[in-house]
Amino acid sequence: MKSRDPQRQQGAGWLFVSPAIIVLGVFLVAPIGMALWVSLSDWSGSGSPISGDVNFIGTENYNALLADPGLARQDLMISFRNTFYYVLGVVPLQTMLALSLAVLLNNRFLRGRTFFRTAFYFPSVVSSVAISLLFLFLFAGSGAINNVLGWFGVNGPNWFQDSRGLIHIFGDAVGLWSIASPPSWMTSPSVMGLSFWEWFSGPSVALSAIMMQVIWTTAGTFMLLFLAGLQDLPVEVEEAAMVDGANKWQRFMNVTVPHLRPTILLVVTLGFIGTWQVFDQMYVMTQGGPAKTTLTPAYLSYQAAFTNGDWGQGAAIAFILFAIIFILTTTQRWLMRDKDASAQKRADRGVRRQRRRPTRVIVEETQRKAQSS
């Protein structure tokens, strides 16, 4: 029995993992090190970044982005502001839409469940480029959305050319201020390169259109997670609540939502992580415009390096973004630490658990993929 020989397993083990180690090492670990070096250097993009002509400049790139007043810092702050409003809009709305879709689909009397589930989930598996093209058309000046708004007498905006912030528009509409001449107390003091007026703009009309697209696209994946959670809910519990005379809404709030709490937590934290990475839509649809209102850190990093040739700064932005996402991921892992234990306990009650453990990983994985694209 040669193969039982530990020596042989040693060799085979390393042989089996070697392709993975080489590819991940060369195309993931090494480049991260290289980019870290570039973010600390004055490399201009020509020649090898690891040569004698390239100088170590310490944290100069990071200082320009985070400390020194200037265009670099202002752009990064604009991208943070945009992402803040983006997250604030997308995460709650996609969670609610996903939950609503799941609850609708979970109705006992529903016919054709598979059809509806397919329809709601389909956009999640389609290329973000294809979806972006579609939405460019739907949200065009004379596009479908504005046509529908027209039925209700609303004159739709020129979505992707409109840089007005929603809060600005709202304030203008209720007479708080005029967009054309913002009040001076909001424009004069500036914090990190942006005035209050700019900080409190809200998402621009263009960014809102992208937000709607992303909510529409990703809700389907999260719906699947909610459906899985809902089908775990023992019917007996709901029955008991029914016997106690709870109405539909009370049952939803007092039985369903608490039961789904781990799933809601998962969906919200995954939403946070995903929304910080948004890039494709900006690349395809707006290139950061109009007036930088759809600029995100990921797109800014790309633009700094590939468009403006400022590699050090582009790499530095990537590492700042990395740090933010790392904090979010760590927080998620920390928040979810008890979840696996309790999910296990719940699963023990059922007979179907053998299948669940591996498949649950797969759902989460599918989901992660969809989010990051």
Partner: protein
């Protein structure tokens, strides 16, 4: 235990109706289906518009965005599309996706199996490293990847498009998790028969991992077909563009002034079709996790 809802829509828990709630009234039912129809329209109508618009003329698409009858009907957009670089991009996408998928399924299974079953020094450290790698968001790797592809000297080649995507840490993780659920006694039997490590893996363990393999295949296919970021930084040669890269350029270059919405819709539609086919055929595997309960119940 009582069965969860099934697709045929038969109420599976009649005793429930007897306890408290009477069967939903007609009004409630209409309200429910009304909501459902609204969401279904919201999700399906855009794709119908996409299909119809691809057979419209430019002015018709701009002027009657919602209309479902092309007036006049034309295949002009499709002809424009096929005489552009689109066929090249499509071929490239097929080549890249096939290579990435085959490579990923094979190498991730190999590594996953080693991490799950083989005893070798450094295994635990490697697994920890794998978890760390999984936490790196792809989007921050754009600049690093470009740097290394240039440094290694394969920028603007097929290997640059394919090799970096061939290993996916999450894929290794999925396979490892699955292999751990296969009873060890199966391998023992093979070993007693004198099979070597690779043979045991290839002819005994791998066939048992079919569900995981199919899932990984689908994830790889979908992931590499839809990938955009990596292809942006791996090439700037239009002959090497994949669909996502090429079509993304459509919007930034061609559509700005004289909008060619029908061409754009045709381009988007055609690149969606392979995904749609795979999705419809293998839907069970996409949604399996969510339905694990329902199917077994």
């Amino acid at each position: 235990m009582s069965a969860p809802p099934k697709d045929d829509g038969v109420p599976v828990t009649p005793e429930l109706a007897a306890v408290g709630e009477s069967r939903p009234s007609r009004v409630k039912k209409y309200w429910f289906y009304g909501m459902l129809l609204f969401f279904a329209l919201l999700y399906i109508y855009p794709f119908i518009i996409q299909l119809v618009t691809s057979f419209k003329t430019d002015p018709d698409a701009t002027g009657n965005a919602l209309s479902l009858t092309p007036d006049p009907f034309t295949t002009g957009a499709w002809e424009t599309l096929f005489s552009s670089n689109y066929p090249t991009w499509f071929t490239n996408s097929v080549i890249v996706t096939l290579c990435v998928t085959v490579g990923r399924v094979f190498f991730c299974s190999l590594a996953g199996y080693a991490l799950a079953r083989l005893k070798f020094t450094g295994r635990i450290a490697l697994f920890t490293g794998l978890l760390a790698v999984m936490a790196v968001p792809g989007i921050v790797l754009l600049i690093p990847k470009f740097l290394i592809l240039n440094y290694v000297g394969i920028y603007n080649t097929y290997p640059a498009l394919i090799v970096p995507l061939m290993i996916d840490a999450a894929g290794i993780f999925i396979m490892k998790q699955f292999f751990e659920t296969i009873p060890e006694s199966v391998e023992e039997a093979a070993r007693i028969d004198g099979a070597g490590t690779f043979r045991t893996f290839w002819s005994v363990v791998l066939p048992m991992a079919k569900p995981a393999l199919i899932t990984l295949t689908i994830l790889s296919f979908q992931g590499s077909w839809n990938e955009l970021g990596h292809f942006i930084v791996a090439t700037n040669n239009p002959d090497l563009y994949t669909l996502t890269r090429g079509v993304a350029g459509f919007t930034t270059g061609g559509l700005g002034s004289g909008n060619q919405y029908p061409v754009a819709m045709a381009a988007a539609l055609l690149m969606t079709i392979p995904t749609a086919l795979v999705f419809i055929v293998f839907q069970r595997y996409f949604t399996q996790g969510a339905n694990a309960g329902a199917e077994k119940g």
